[in-house]
Structures are given as structure tokens and as C-alpha cells.
Amino acid sequence: MKKKEIHSPDQLVSFYQEMLTYRRFEERVNLAYTQQKFSGFCHLHIGQEAVCVGVQAALQPDDYVIAGYRSHTLAIAKGIPAREVFAELFGKVTGCSRGKGGSMHMFSKQHRFLGGHGIVGGQAPLAVGVGFAIQYRAEKNIIVCYLGDAAMNQGQVFEAMNMAATWKLPVLFLIENNRYGMGTDIRRTTSVDRLSKRALAFDMAHSEVDGMNVLTLHTHVRDIVADMRKNPAPYLLEVMTYRYRGHSVSDPGAYRTKEEVQDFQKKDPILQLASVLREKKLAGDKELTEWDEIIKAEVKEAERFADESPAPELAELWQHVLVES
């Protein structure tokens, strides 16, 4: 009997195009940074595109997402238009945080994207608060709390996981394990060989998944989320991924070998899915090239929007410190 196809052709194409969009987006962002169009810290997601694509496809639009500082593409995946993310990077008033957040602080109340946060692990208690509110109001949603591998050594993350587990709150703690906390190999600072094992301390369900294969990742997360909706409880998922670029755009990455980076690039999520598309005759060179051209043009257009948008008025400086009643 033929194995049932989990992903429809449309879904495969869409996953591919989304991942490529995030790759091209971050490349364009990197270029704009090197052209000194904007400044500050800028953390790229290149290499990790499968994660948010697979996760987002497993969520409902009204589920919540909260993240750390590497979150341009997570914000777009949650529904924030790419041009508003680009405009935010340029500090423009059309940015998703009116130019007052920046690279690390993308927000959208409408899309239930609760930030972009710059204090490592600080978003974990916030996520538990959202989980608490979901339970308080007897809603069916979940919140995904993206964390980097190094955030797993923050005390507040332990506090957050303990509360989530004790009160059975629907929080999916999702570690994007790209192996490095800035320039420090996570193995040099962590007592466990697998970060997901930390869940054992809280009697919390947990697993690991390949973050370079969007299809594996998607089906895995989809099953977890389905179960969380039926039986609300937190979950710790360790996604094994890799960033090709430095910690931030100014980091040359001298702490790791070229070979290591190349090894992961061989497992590139976009290339892997391209092979699937070719095998299934859903796309060939012609289509892949065409899509790439379209996506590049879209990203360029997002940048043009950011370029041409106005900066916030000076009056914005004093606005939003407190809610004006």
C-alpha cells in the first residue's frame, strides 16, 4: 500500500517559497546593514529558516508567538508584512513597532506576535503568563516560546518551566539549538548533552527534532500542538538547527571551523526541499529560478518601502512611555 502523503503539493511549494523568502530577506537585510542603511545589533536567521516555517504551519492564526532577539523571520512567519519588518529595521514609523523597537523588538498585537525580546530567556516567563491567560479564559490556543540554546541556562527559564508544568499551561518552549550562545559552544557551558533533557526536571513532555528538514519538523510540531490542544500542558522541544552567519552581522565566527559550517550547508533546508520538489516533479530549474526572481523582487520592494517611509516625528520620542488616559 502506498504511504499516505502528509504534505500536499501546494504545501510543499509554499514551504519552499516561504523558506526562500526568509533567506532572501535576511540576505537583503545583511546587505543593507553593510551599506550602512541602518545600525545597531542585527541577528540573522540564515540557515534556520525551516524552523519558523514548520512551526507556523502547525499553528492556528490566533495562537501566540513570543521570541528572543533573532526574530525578523519569526515575525514575518507570524503574519507581519515583510515590509513592516524591514521598515522597523530602518527605524521608520511604518515599522511594526513604529521604529521604536528595532531589530530585536518586532511586535504585532494584531498578529499576536508578542515580541522580539533582547534579554536572553526573559521571554519565557512572559510566555507562561500568556499560557496562564489562555487557561484563565478557558481558550483553546497555545503559545510558542522561541528560545535560543543558551537561554536554557537562564534561571528565569527554569522558573517559567516549573510554573508552566505545575499549572499545566499550554506553552510550547521551543529551543532553536544552533549550537552557539554568541561565540560559546553550548557544550562548554551546559551540563547536559541534550537540552531537551532539562524537561525531566519538571516532568514535562519533551523531544528533539531535526530543524534542517522542514517536513519532519512540521509533522512533529503539528502532532505536539494537536496534543497540547487536547490536553493542555507545556512541552519542551529541542530543534537541532544551525546558523550559517555569525551571532550578529558583525561577528566573523572565528570560534568554529569552515568545515562545520559547510557540513550543515550540505543539509540546507531549502536545498533539501528543492530535491523533494524535483523528485515529485513539482518544480524544476525553471520554476525554482522563477520563484527566486519573484521573491527577490518582493524583498527588494519591502526594502524600497522601508527606504521611502518617513522616520517617526520627534514627538514620538515622548509618546508611549505610559498609556495616556
Binding site: 523588538h105 511586535f107 515580541g115 525580546h117 516567563p125 500568556v130 522558573e159 510554573m163
Partner: protein, 328 residues
Amino acid sequence: MALLTFREALGQAMDEEMARDPNVFLMGEEVAQYDGAYKVSKGLLQKYGPKRVIDSPISEGGFAGLGIGAAMVGLRPIIEMMTWNFGIQGLDQIINHAAKMHYMSGGQFTVPIVFRGPNGAAHMLGAQHSQNLDPILTHIPGLKVISVATPADGKGLLKAAIRDPNPVIFLESEMMYGMKGEVPDDADFILPIGVGERKRTGHNVTIISWGKILHKAMEACAVLAKEGIEVDLIDPRTLVPLDEALIFESVRKTHRVVIVEENWPFSSVGSHISDRIQSECFDDLDAPVARVSQEPVPVPYAEHLEERALPSVERMVEAVKRVCYRAV
């Protein structure tokens, strides 16, 4: 009016606001089954159940953040810190998240939350349980900070804090929980945040003081009155936003000011108020602004040392006489 203790007044404020708004909940260490470490939340678990009155683990950073996250999506948490000394563990969440969320998100998210608990030295609790966080908390843009001294002010301003759309820090004191005072019964008794009160009227000198130490300042006023010095005693009640108009009005009347605070002197709330007075009332002053603060040492345990570390009635009287150019 009813004669209530400070703890009863605060409990009543929470009770009334929980009855009024189902989104209000209380979380903290020992707030539920134990009825509160200082019994402020007495009876609330019984009345509202474990869904809305929740005993937290001893994880101040964790449950401060939980409150902030819940507030971002529409709940109205009251987070009790058993003492603000433990609240220091939660300062990362308060400073890095609560205070900045509205601003960083370009006005999209609001954090309607109250962090409340006792602040400052009590009696012989040692250095780690005797700190006053006014200066740290008032320093951070994006927070409102309230420090009250009477049961009525406690009730009226705590209710206002719970209804406020911003993160509000509400500072209490272990030593005040048993103090009694007349408190209005009206379930809609609310005091506006940012409005101070003249606790005593006089024309010779202004004392500005707030929180628990205000009670010692009142004693000093009584001592001074016997010597013919009438003090205009101003209680800002809210430190952020500060009722500068009331302060300046008093200074322009008396021309002499003593600020009495239970803060360490360096970069304190008193130093800020002093700066505002010299900037705005320079020509009205007949003497330099004087301050009576805590000694800049960790608060010691031994009773006589602790007493000397904190502002005393004697030192307040002395400072007032100095600005009045009277012999001390």
C-alpha cells in the same frame, strides 16, 4: 467611614476590584492558603477561589514575568512581593519588560499590572530584608510608583493602581500593616494617582515625606510645634508622577524645605525633589534645601545601630531648625 488597619484597607481595595473586574487576579508567595505573609489578602482565596488567588513558587522573576505576559493579553494581575527585597529578583522583568513593553511595541501592547509589597526597613530584619527601592524604581521610565502612609491613601490609591492601564509599583511597609485609620466605605472611593496631600498645615517650613517614615516626620512636626515652628507637611503619595505643583506651592509659602526620606542619600528620590525645588523655586528659598536620609550603609541588625541608620525624629528636628536658622 470605617476604622481599618492598613492591611484591611489594602485587602478591601483588592476585594472590591476583584469583585468589579473578573480579569483581576492576585498572585504571590503565600497569598492564598496562608492568607498572605502579612495577612493583606486574608479571605480572598475563600471568596474568589484558587483560579484568581494563586500561591506562586518562590520565583519572583518568574511570576513577575508571568504577570506581565498575562497583562499583555488583557488580564489585570496584582503581583505581591512578600518584600521588595525579594522583588529585586523580579526587577529584570519589571525593568526590562513591564516598563518598556508599551514603548518598544510602538504603543501596541499595554501592561496593566500592579506589583505591591512591603518596602524599606522594618525592625531588626538585617541588611537583606531592610532595603528601600524607591530610588531604583522611580528611576525607570514607564513605571508609576506609589508610596502610601495611611490606610485611606492605601485603599484609594491601590484601587486606582489596579484600574490603571500602566505598570504600577505600590510600596507598603511591614510596620504599617497594623496601623489604623478612617477609610471611606464607598466601593468607588478612588484617589487619583499623581496627587499629593498636605498632611499638616504650617507656614514656617515645609517637610516633604512619604511612606512609613512620614509617621516619624509627623512626630517631628509635633515636637517642632511645641517650639513654635509650624510645619507644612507634604506627602506626595505618588512618587511617579510627582505632584510638583503641591510641593512648589508649599515651598513658595514657607521658603524653607526639609526632605525626609527612608532612602540612601546618593541618587535618591529626595535628591531629585531637591533638584526640582532649586530649579523651580530658587528665588523663593531662604535656606538651602536640607535632606534627612538613611545612612549610606547596609542596614545593620543590632537595634541601636539600625535605629541610628534610619532617619530619626531628632535629626528631622535638627534639620528643620537648621533651615530656620534656629539654634540646635
